[in-house]
Subunit: 413 residues, 2 copies
Amino acid sequence: MNAEIVGVGTELLLGQIANTNAQTISQALAGIGVDVFFHCAVGDNLQRMTDVIRRARSRSDVVIITGGLGPTPDDITREAVAAATDRQLHRDPALEKEIRAVFERLERAMPEENLKQADLPEDAVAITPRGTAPGFYVDDRECLIIALPGVPWEMNAMLTEDVVPLLTARAGSKVILTRQVLVVGLGESHTHERIADIVEAQTNPTIAFLAGGGLVRVRITAKAASESVALGLVEPVERAVRERLGRSAVPGRGDSLAESVGNMLRDKGMTVAVAESLTGGLVGAELSAVGGSSDFFLGSVACYSTASKRDVLGVDDSILAGPGPVSEEAAGALAAGAARLFGASLGLAATGVAGPAEQDRVPVGTVYVGACLDGKTEVRLVRGYGDRTNIRAIAVTATLDLGRRLVQNEGEG
Amino acid sequence: MNAEIVGVGTELLLGQIANTNAQTISQALAGIGVDVFFHCAVGDNLQRMTDVIRRARSRSDVVIITGGLGPTPDDITREAVAAATDRQLHRDPALEKEIRAVFERLERAMPEENLKQADLPEDAVAITPRGTAPGFYVDDRECLIIALPGVPWEMNAMLTEDVVPLLTARAGSKVILTRQVLVVGLGESHTHERIADIVEAQTNPTIAFLAGGGLVRVRITAKAASESVALGLVEPVERAVRERLGRSAVPGRGDSLAESVGNMLRDKGMTVAVAESLTGGLVGAELSAVGGSSDFFLGSVACYSTASKRDVLGVDDSILAGPGPVSEEAAGALAAGAARLFGASLGLAATGVAGPAEQDRVPVGTVYVGACLDGKTEVRLVRGYGDRTNIRAIAVTATLDLGRRLVQNEGEG
C-alpha cells in the first residue's frame, strides 16, 4: 500500500506556513508500514486542486488531503474531491446536528456559513469534528481518499484516532522501523566516510544521512513483517555504526538531543538549569518540550541584557568589563550561575553573536558554550555559520552537547 | 511566469523533517511576482524523481529543486535532472577546483567522494557552493530548472544572491504584495463574519484567512506592475478590515505577534521581561528572534520548578501553598517578579498545564497569563486545547497579547 499526501491552501504556496501536516502524517504512516511516495501542495483553486487529486488517485492507493475544510469561501476541498471523483455534494443531516452541538458546547453562536461544513461527496463517511471542521473519507475505484482539516491539532487527532486504525485494518501489518543515531562534532561527509562500507553492504535496513543545526542524523530504516523482525535487522547495524562513530554518537534513543540529554539526566537522578544569551530561551524551550521534563529541567534564564548577566546570574563585573559578555570567562560564569540559581546539578550556558551585525567588535557566528557539573566547569568556542536562525540552532546543539559529554564522562570516570 | 518547487529526500517522505525550504522559496518568489502553483516532494529514487521533474517541466516555467546535491550515494538530483532533460553528466574542472578550495579554507581533508559534487548536466551553469555543495541551473526547452542544496542556510544564500536576481531579470517586474492583519480574541469564522462583505467585494487584492496557535491571520494580497501600485490597492482594504476588527486586530506591520509587541515597546521606549512556566522559554525565544530585540527585550526566566518560582521570581509561599503555582495569583506575582528582576517596564508571565497529564488536579489546558505594567497587574484565564505543542503555542500568544493590550491602552489612556 502506498500513499500520497496533498496539502491544500494558497498560504502554503505563498510560504506563509510550512507544510508540517505532511510531516506528521508521513511519520504516522511510516509507523504502520505504508510507503509515502509523494507530497504535493496546491492552492485554493478548484481546477488545479481537482487535477492534483485526480493524478494522486491514479498513482496511489491512499490519498490524504489536509486543509480547505473550513467555513470560509476559499475552503473548497469538498468541491474538489467531488469533482475529481465525479460525485455530487449533499448535506449530511447527522453532521449538521453535530456541528450545531459543537457550538452549543462552546457556548458560541454558530455563523450560518459553518453549515457548509456538513456537505459531503456521495458515499463519503464523515469523521467527527474535533474543532468545528469534520473530515471524511470516500472509496473511489481502487483508491481511498481521505480529507482532514488543516489545523494541526485537529488533523492530528483524526489521524491517530481514525485514519491510522482504518489504514492498519486495510493494509495488513508491514512495519517500517527507523532508528536514528545523532552525531555531533563530525561533518556529514566525515560521518559517511567512517561508515561507508557498512552503508554499502546494506539493503535492509537502509542507511541515510541528514545534516542541519550543528548535528548529523544517521537514519537506519528496516522494513519487515513485524516490529520484532524489523528490530532484529536494525539493532546490529545500529551497534556497528555507534562503535565506529565513538564519542561523536549521542547515546540513547532520543529523537532530539534535548531528549537524549534529558534521559541521561533522569537515569542519573540529576537536574539541569540554563543561562541563555544569544539563544534567548531556545535551550529551555527544547528541554521543556520533552515529555516528563519536570523530572530533570529546573529552569532557564534568558539573560539578554548585560545587566541581567550580572544581576540575575552573578557574573562578575570584572568579566563583563574585561573579556566581555561574549567570552570563555562569561560562558563559564553563566553556567555556574545557572546551576547555583536553580540549585541544579548541571548548569549550561550559551553566549555569542547571532547577527545580523557584529557586537562590540566580536564577529557574527562567535559562540561560547559552557557547562558546569558539580563545580567543574568546561567551556568551548564554536564557530556558527549561516543566518541568525542557523547560528542560534548551532548554539543550542553545542550547549546541549557539551552538557551531554560532561554527564557521560562522569558516568564513566 | 509560474513556478513549481520540488523537495528531494526520503527524509521528507518519512516525516523526519518538514519541507521548510519550500516555504522559504515561496516567500521569496511571491516578493518578485512569480506565482507558485505546486509544491512536490519525492524520495531518493531515480525513477520517481525523474518523473516528477519531467511533469514539473511540462507544466511550469521555472522548477526549483532542493536537496540531493550532497556527496553521499543517496544524493542523486544531478542524475535525475540529467535523465529528465536527456543530458549527460560531466565533471566541471572549475567546480572541482572550487570544492577543493572550500576544504582548504576549512582546513579539513576532502573525502574523495565529494568530487562527485563537481558533476553537472551538459550546458548547466554552476552556482558557487556556500557550504560544500554547488547548485546549478539549466535551460531546457521552455523551462528553467534550478537545483539548490537542501541545507536551509546554504539554500537560502543561493536563493537570495543568485536565484532571485536571475528570475527578476527574466520575469519582468510584476509584484505580489501581502499585508497581514493579526487577530487575537476572535475565532476564524467570527473574524470572517465581521468582514464578509469586504471579502466578497474584492478580486484584487484577495483576502484569505489562516488560523492557528491562538490567532487568525487575515492576508490581503495584491498583484500589480509595481510595489507602489500594489500598496495603493492593499492599504485602503487593510484600513477597512482593521476598523471592523477593532481591538482584536494587532496594530502595526509585524509578521509575528512578538514583532508587533516589540515594535510598540521600542516606539514607547519601554522594555519587557518574562516569567515562563509551561512555555519553558518559548516567549523569550519568540521575542529574541525579532531582529534588534536587544532594544526592548531584557530577559526571561523559565521557572519550571515550583521552588524557582519562589526563589528566583519571589512568588510568596502563601500563593504557592494556597491558590497554587497554576493560579491567577501566581500569574500576577510572576509577571511582577519578572519586571522587578530585570528592571523592565513590562513584566509578562504564563503558568498552566500543557499536559499530557493533569497536575495537582488542575486540568490540562488551564493557562493563566499575567502582565504587569508600571506596577499595574492584569491576569487572564485562557482555555488551551489540542495537544501539548498547541497548548504551549496558545499560551505564548495569550501572554504576548495581554502585554500588547496593556501597552496599547496606556498609550491611549
